[in-house]
C-alpha cells in the first residue's frame, strides 16, 4: 500500500469535507420576513417578524450581534415599534433575560434595528437554536397600496464579533386594502364558499 498516496488522498478528502462544511455554513444563513405576505385594511396595524435561520443550532456559529435596515413604503405604512427577541423562545441574544444592547432607529422609509448580546460566546454557541425571530416590527396602515418589506444587512456577527454573511434574504409584502375587512367577515365568506362547495358535491352526487 502506498502510504504517502493514501495520506494525500485522505487529506484531500478532509479538505473537501471541510470546504463542504464551510460552504454549507457560509451559505446557510437566511434572513426572512415572516409572514411573507399580509393584507390589512386601512388604519389596521400589522406585525412582521425578522427571522434568522441556518445558524449552528446549539453550536457555533451562533449570532452575537446584528444590525439591519428594514425598508418599507412610508406612504403606505407607518413604523410604530420594535420588540426584540423571539415571540415564543424569548430573546436569543439575551439568553438569561439579563439585558442586551438594542436600538430601533426610524428613518425615511427605513428602520434600523440592532442588537448586541452581552452573553458569553460559549453560552451563545451552546444555548442558541439555529432558527429564531430577531425582532418583531409593528406598522400601522395609513394609505391604500402595497409596501414591500426588505431587509438590508449592515452587519451580522457571530458570538465573537466576527462577520457572518446571509446567503439568502427573503423580503415580504404588506397590502393595504381600501375597505377594512374584519377577520370575521372573511370567515363568513370562506364559510359560505365551503357551503357552496358541499352543495355542489351533493348535486353531483
Amino acid at each position: 500500500m502506498n502510504t504517502a498516496r493514501y495520506t494525500l488522498t485522505f487529506k484531500k478528502g478532509c479538505l473537501a469535507l471541510a470546504m463542504l462544511a464551510y460552504s454549507t455554513m457560509a451559505s446557510a444563513i437566511t434572513l426572512s420576513i415572516s409572514p411573507g405576505s399580509q393584507t390589512i385594511g386601512i388604519s389596521d396595524t400589522v406585525d412582521i417578524a425578522v427571522v434568522i435561520s441556518g445558524l449552528g443550532d446549539f453550536m457555533a456559529d451562533s449570532l452575537g450581534t446584528y444590525d439591519l435596515n428594514i425598508s418599507y413604503d412610508s406612504t403606505v405604512l407607518t413604523f410604530q415599534s420594535a420588540t426584540f427577541g423571539d415571540s415564543i423562545l424569548g430573546d436569543q441574544l439575551d439568553l438569561f433575560g439579563l439585558g442586551s444592547i438594542t436600538a430601533d432607529i426610524p428613518g425615511s422609509d427605513v428602520v434600523e434595528v440592532y442588537e448586541v448580546s452581552l452573553d458569553s460566546p460559549s453560552d451563545l454557541d451552546s444555548l442558541q437554536p439555529g432558527t429564531f425571530e430577531l425582532v418583531t416590527l409593528s406598522f400601522s396602515a395609513n394609505a391604500v397600496g402595497v409596501s414591500s418589506i426588505d431587509i438590508s444587512v449592515i452587519d451580522l456577527g457571530d458570538a465573537n464579533g466576527y462577520l457572518l454573511s446571509a446567503s439568502t434574504i427573503n423580503g415580504g409584502t404588506i397590502t393595504v386594502s381600501a375597505v377594512p375587512i374584519p377577520a370575521a367577515v372573511w370567515l363568513f365568506y370562506s364559510g359560505l364558499l365551503g357551503l357552496i362547495g358541499i352543495a355542489k358535491r351533493k348535486k353531483v352526487a
Binding site: 450581534t65 444590525d67 464579533g161
Partner: protein, 550 residues
C-alpha cells in the same frame, strides 16, 4: 536631600506648623512666613522645623534651598517685612521698600534648623507694580567659590553694589515691569555685597537661573523682550527673534530666551546669545554637558533656529517643547529640535547615565510623536479620543517622557504618563537638568487629580487620596527604555483600567463612523468602520461577566 535627611521649604500662614519648637524661629510672625522642615529619609519622622519671617509677608519655593560646604542652609525669597530676623549686620540690613514683594532676602540657617546665623535684604527702593506683585524676585541661590550668587529681576534703578559691575545702570523695563535682570555676589556669611550687576536691555528681562560654567564663571539664563540685550554680538543668535504678541497680561509671554556666560566677578560679560524664533519662548532647564550646553523649554515659534536635521525639525503645532544644544562658549547653535504634538507641550531635559537626553514635561497633544510601543500610548489613557478629530479634542494635560539621542537628531522613544484627570510633572531634580535614577530607571514626579494612574498597584499609596481639583502628588519610576508593557488595555476606551459596558457604549456612540485611521482604538476589529461588530468584539474582552461596570 542632605545628610541622609529630607529638607523641604515653602510658605505658610499656619501659626501651628509642626515641629518648630526648638527651631531657629519657633513662632509665626504673621502675614505669611517661610517654613523649613527636616525629615527622616523614610519620611516617618519630622526631626525639626522652623519658621523664618518678619511681620510682613515672605514668599519662597522649595527649590531655593542650597547647602554650603559645612552643611548650613541658604534660602532665598522675597519679603515685605521691615523687621526680618537676624538682618542686623547683614549685607543690607534694612528693608528698601516696595509695595508688594519688596526686597529679596537671603538667610543662612544651621543644618539642624536650630540656629539662624544671618540674614540680609537685597533690593532697591522702587515701588513697582510688577508681575505677580514683585519687583525683586530671586531664584536658587548659587553657592559658588567664596560667594553666594543670587539672580532675579528688578524694577529698582538703585540696586546696591552695582558700581563697577558689568552693567552698572538700570536699562529699563517694559509693559510687564520686570525691568532688568540682576546678579549679586554676596559674601558667604551674608555680611557684605561683593558685586552686583544689572543684566538687561530697555524692555523687560528676567533672570531665571544660574549654572556653574567651571571654576570662575557661570551661565545665567532668562527671558527677554529687549532687542538690545547686551553682549549678544558674536553669539550663536546675536539678534532678537521677536515675540508674536504685543504685551498683555492674557499672554504673559516673553520673546526670546537669553543665555549669558559671565565671570564670577560680575565685572565683564564673556558672551551672551538670544535663543528663539519669531514667536515666544520660555526657558525651563539649562544643562552643562562636556563642551556643550543644553537649554530646554517651550516655544510658540514655528521658526525656532537650528531645528533642521533635528529629531523633530518642525513644530507640531500650538506650543512645543524644545531642546537646543549650543557650544559651551555660546557662539554656535549646534542643533535644536522641537518635541511636541498639535496641542500645548512644554519640557525640561536632563541626561541619563546611558548618555541619552530625557525630556520631561506636560502635554495636551493627543498626537505626541514616538509614543508607539511606549509605556502609555494614549493621553489620559483615554483611547476613545483617538477616534476623534484632534482639532476638536481638548484633553487634560498629561506628563510625558521622551528619550532623545544626545545630538538631538533622533527621537528614540516617548511615552505619556497620566490618567483621565489633570497632571503636571517635572523631572526629579532641578533647573540644572539633574536626572534622578534608580537602577537605571528614571523618576518622574508631579501632581494629579486622576484616580486611574497606571502602575500604582503595589505602590506606597495605591489609591487616589484627593478630590477632584484638589489632587495628589505622584512619583513614578519608569524603565529607561520607556517601552511597554503598555498601560493601555485594549478596549479600555475610557481609560478607567477595565473593559466594561461603559467602553461598549463609547463604541455605540460612534456607530456608523469611519475609523479615524489604521490605529483607531474604537475600531476594535480594524475593518475601517465603527460597527456593532466592534461592540460585540469587546464583550469577550470585558473584565467582568456580561461587561458589568462594577
Amino acid at each position: 536631600m542632605h545628610g541622609g535627611e529630607f529638607y523641604m521649604a515653602g510658605d505658610t500662614t499656619s501659626n501651628d506648623f509642626p515641629g518648630t519648637t526648638g527651631g531657629a524661629q519657633p513662632t509665626y510672625d504673621g502675614s505669611g512666613d517661610i517654613f523649613i522642615a527636616r525629615l527622616s529619609s523614610d519620611l516617618t519622622t519630622l526631626v525639626q522645623s522652623t519658621y523664618f519671617g518678619g511681620s510682613g509677608g515672605e514668599d519662597t519655593t522649595g527649590s531655593t534651598i542650597t547647602f554650603d560646604n559645612s552643611g548650613d542652609i541658604y534660602i532665598t525669597g522675597v519679603t515685605t517685612s521691615p523687621d526680618l530676623p537676624a538682618s542686623s549686620g547683614g549685607a543690607q540690613s534694612t528693608y528698601s521698600g516696595g509695595t508688594y514683594s519688596g526686597d529679596v532676602f537671603v538667610a543662612l540657617i544651621s543644618a539642624d534648623l536650630t540656629t539662624l546665623r544671618q540674614s540680609t535684604y537685597f533690593g532697591g527702593s522702587e515701588d513697582e507694580d510688577g508681575w505677580l506683585q514683585t519687583n525683586d524676585i530671586t531664584r536658587q541661590p548659587l553657592h559658588f567659590g567664596n560667594g553666594i550668587f543670587i539672580a532675579g529681576y528688578t524694577m529698582s534703578d538703585d540696586l546696591p553694589g552695582t558700581a563697577g559691575g558689568y552693567q552698572p545702570a538700570f536699562a529699563g523695563g517694559g509693559f510687564f515691569e520686570f525691568g532688568d535682570g540682576f546678579i549679586a555676589r554676596l559674601s558667604q556669611d551674608l555680611t557684605s555685597i561683593v558685586q552686583t550687576t544689572y543684566l538687561g536691555g530697555t524692555d523687560d528681562d528676567a533672570l531665571i537661573f544660574l549654572e556653574s560654567a567651571g571654576a570662575s564663571s557661570f551661565y545665567v539664563v532668562g527671558y527677554t523682550r529687549s532687542d538690545d540685550f547686551p553682549g549678544t554680538a558674536g553669539g550663536a543668535q546675536p539678534v532678537y527673534g521677536g515675540s508674536a504678541y504685543p504685551p498683555n497680561y492674557n499672554n504673559l509671554l516673553f520673546g526670546d530666551v537669553y543665555i549669558a556666560l559671565i565671570p564670577d566677578d560680575l565685572t565683564t560679560l564673556t558672551q551672551a546669545t538670544y535663543l528663539g524664533g519669531s514667536g515666544d519662548e520660555e526657558a525651563l532647564v539649562f544643562t552643562v554637558a562636556g563642551s556643550s550646553v543644553y537649554q530646554s523649554g517651550s516655544t510658540e515659534s514655528d521658526d525656532f533656529p537650528g531645528t533642521a536635521g533635528g529629531a523633530q525639525p518642525t513644530s507640531g503645532g500650538g506650543s512645543d517643547a524644545y531642546v537646543a544644544k549650543l557650544s559651551a562658549d555660546l557662539t554656535t547653535l549646534e542643533q535644536a529640535t522641537y518635541f511636541g504634538g498639535s496641542g500645548t507641550d512644554a519640557g525640561t531635559a536632563g541626561f541619563h547615565h546611558n548618555g541619552d537626553l530625557y525630556m520631561f514635561g506636560i502635554t495636551d497633544s493627543i498626537d505626541l510623536p514616538g509614543v508607539q510601543g511606549g509605556i502609555q500610548q494614549h493621553i489620559g489613557r483615554q483611547q476613545y479620543l483617538y477616534h476623534l478629530n484632534p482639532a476638536t479634542v481638548s484633553p487634560d494635560f498629561d506628563t510625558y517622557v521622551a528619550r532623545l539621542s544626545s545630538d538631538l537628531t533622533t527621537l528614540i522613544q516617548s511615552t505619556y504618563y497620566g490618567g483621565s484627570g489633570f497632571e503636571l510633572g517635572d523631572l526629579v531634580g532641578g533647573t540644572d537638568g539633574e536626572l534622578l535614577e534608580y537602577n537605571g530607571n528614571v523618576y518622574l514626579n508631579g501632581g494629579t487629580d486622576s484616580d486611574n494612574l497606571c502602575g500604582v498597584a503595589g505602590g506606597a499609596q495605591p489609591a487616589y487620596g484627593g478630590k477632584i481639583y484638589s489632587g495628589d502628588s505622584f512619583l513614578a519610576l519608569l524603565s529607561s527604555d520607556l517601552l511597554g508593557p503598555s498601560c493601555d488595555i485594549q478596549g479600555d476606551l475610557d481609560g478607567d483600567g477595565d473593559v466594561d459596558l461603559d467602553d461598549i457604549n463609547i463604541i455605540r456612540g460612534y456607530l456608523g463612523d469611519p475609523a479615524s485611521g489604521p490605529n483607531d482604538p474604537v475600531d476594535i476589529d480594524g475593518d475601517g468602520r465603527i460597527s456593532v461588530l466592534d461592540m460585540r468584539r469587546l464583550v469577550p474582552m470585558c473584565t467582568r461577566a456580561r461587561c458589568a461596570t462594577s
